[in-house]
Assembly symmetry: D2
Homo-oligomer: 229 residues x 4
């Protein structure tokens, strides 16, 4: 059990790695499901839009599946957009919002978070530092995930490179709304990173390449949660 009494959660962002696209997305999600089931750590994945229904149709899978981006639109004349109503129709759990690889305008972050609430979907707003984390806390999303963009994909965990950004983010968010769970990301890949993230006050992690590019994805997942389960 975690030091803080909370069991941390893990969200895996599939990005557009080949190792998490198409058939590989299905296989990887089955691993995530297994580790979710055997360890009791609550897991979810953010899949490419094109893969989402394939994953949801797999009867072995019932963990939450998120979109990586959703547009702040209503049904109508929009080409090349991701429609919130389509997420509902297929049973998608919610969406990442404002990931550092898909940054959004302030007004659009607010609007898509509102739409998610209205539709009963979860919103995970990504931020890049303490100040932007505090800012989006005013939107009352379901999660805030702070990821310093300069550490993404480096294997250098934010919890080691810049622990104050995690603890500071947790503090500032909780001044606005103490009920918003905070995830931390960027460079997370090992069980130690997971412990450090928890000890800095976060409620879980958002990660990608550390698991997706591992030689053995399933073992990497097991190692990740070994120390916190």
């Amino acid at each position: 059990m975690s030091k803080s009494g909370k069991t941390p959660i893990v969200i895996l962002n599939y990005k557009t790695y080949l190792e998490s696209t198409g058939k590989n997305a299905i296989k990887l999600t089955e691993y995530v499901q297994e580790v979710n089931d055997t360890t009791g750590i609550k897991m979810g994945v953010a899949a490419q839009t094109i893969d989402i229904t394939k994953i949801l149709d797999n009867e072995n899978i019932d963990i939450p599946i998120y979109a990586q981006h959703t547009d702040p639109i209503t049904p109508g004349s929009h080409t090349g957009h991701v429609l919130p109503e389509a997420l509902v129709e297929y049973g998608v759990s919610g969406t990442l919002i404002n990931h550092s690889e898909k940054r959004m305008l302030l007004a659009d972050i607010g609007q898509v978070t509102t739409i998610m609430k209205e539709m009963g979907l979860k919103s995970i707003i990504c931020t890049n530092d303490v100040a932007t984390s505090a800012a989006v806390a005013s939107f009352n999303p379901d999660y805030i995930a702070v990821e310093p963009p300069e550490l993404i994909g480096t294997g250098i965990p934010v919890s080691k490179a810049n622990p104050e950004i995690v603890s500071g983010t947790v503090n500032e968010i909780h001044k606005i709304n103490e009920n918003i769970p905070v995830l931390c990301g960027a460079g997370i890949s090992t069980g130690e990173d997971m412990v450090a993230a928890r000890d800095l006050g976060s409620d879980g992690v958002l990660l990608a390449s550390g698991i997706i590019k591992a030689d053995n994805q399933k073992q990497a997942l097991l190692d990740l949660v070994e120390l916190v389960k």
Copy 2:
């Protein structure tokens, strides 16, 4: 048979209308398939990314299915993007590029068109006037679709409101490369619009609301091609 001896093609852009989302996207694509089969008019659809695999998995459907947008990326650390390799894995035929509701940077239009060629996928570049049509002809896409944005969704066909834009586009594109088929769009909904588009030298149409929002989508499709089949 058409005046010019060519049978025009029809591409239906599903945008994010509810009438062409989820289960409705499947049903509508079945109508398009039927009209394609019974009339001999070559048809295709540009579906929302989330719906694409559902449509492709339907055994009744073998018309070309296009994405509405694809990003000029290679596999890797990109969140919320549409990956060209995923289109290949699922059997998607190609993509719309630079639709007026999803405009792209010049460099990105060039790059995604190149990627489509390398992967054996079709590129349909959308443009807004004669000059931009001539410009993208240098990229040698599979199709160029000219749509004056001010007419989109109006029901006023470009072939009537501004016929010179269609004939001028065809002329200027063919000065660069006479083998690129030209589609015209914006406001197209009737069989007469279809004839006018053909008579102005275009090879087909790209359309959306005129069919998708019709009370009877299948009949609207039949009416559309009645005079050119």
Copy 3:
């Protein structure tokens, strides 16, 4: 004197109207200076970047001159950007940030606000509703100006069309930081609008066409502040 005891301030956004470009920008700024001096109402203008030094070089003018947009950059390899250091060199007072006609990414809003502070310049962050106003309060700018974009340029004052957005914005911003002055904008043009804005708790107004497009700009300015001076 104002009901709340505070004298409201007025910031005039010159946008790219011909009536506030080039020589007209100088003349209009002289009017603003005169009305500032004769009425005691604190005024400032947000001029086009190209006009800024012409205005600042005018010896009759000493009211604050703001940029309409500044980029979150440091000196270097950036083309077509507005450099914060240049504002300092010329004596510009600060900048509008995230105007609805120049919306910015969340991370960039945070970054440019930080740069303004570091350089001793003023930041006026524009927002579109209560939630985005509360969000940017976490950046501690010098001013927040709320403007529902659907009312901009309509002549229908926000204080009449949607008074709750003004009072709600003031409340939510002050929960985060009670020292941030709140301006309201969109549709403001008369002395009554100015009173209504004040009575809803705002500290002033950000306005444009109501004055700039007036037949007599100076008289329009005098009328605007008549009831609150």
Copy 4:
């Protein structure tokens, strides 16, 4: 005299370097004017918008001054934009368009080029490769400047790293319109680079850091044109 019989031109992009901002922009432009006058090489500069009128007001300067970016807008409700009419009022010569540090949508490139023509201003469209250069040739700008973005600021001249991109660009542009002068950029800093650029068929260069960051900017300019004057 140049091998091709043409005297090449030089356009210096000031970007946002401190060495070409404010007072430094004036001083540097005086150097450019002197070298223009003493060598007979036709020179121009693309200055930051805020510096433009200061440079134009300097009585020693009569070389062409360009904006680094201009928006495809008409006068009206646009905040933080660069208005074409303002360029005319102040005597600006024209504008860079679509620099790799300020990339534009295809439709906007076409539109701003059209506006420049209508106003009697010069358009210099920047491109990143052969295909995008051929594309914008259809807009018939006054100049096309090709700069592979990966070489910008490296000091590795495009004429050495990738000579085919220069000669190929010249060929493809001239197939569309043989009267458009082609500039090459990225990594240019020495007299040899200038010769190489000319010998590959270009009509001049667009450069920045090689001169702006030189210890002696004036000497660097003299060295640049020494072999082609």
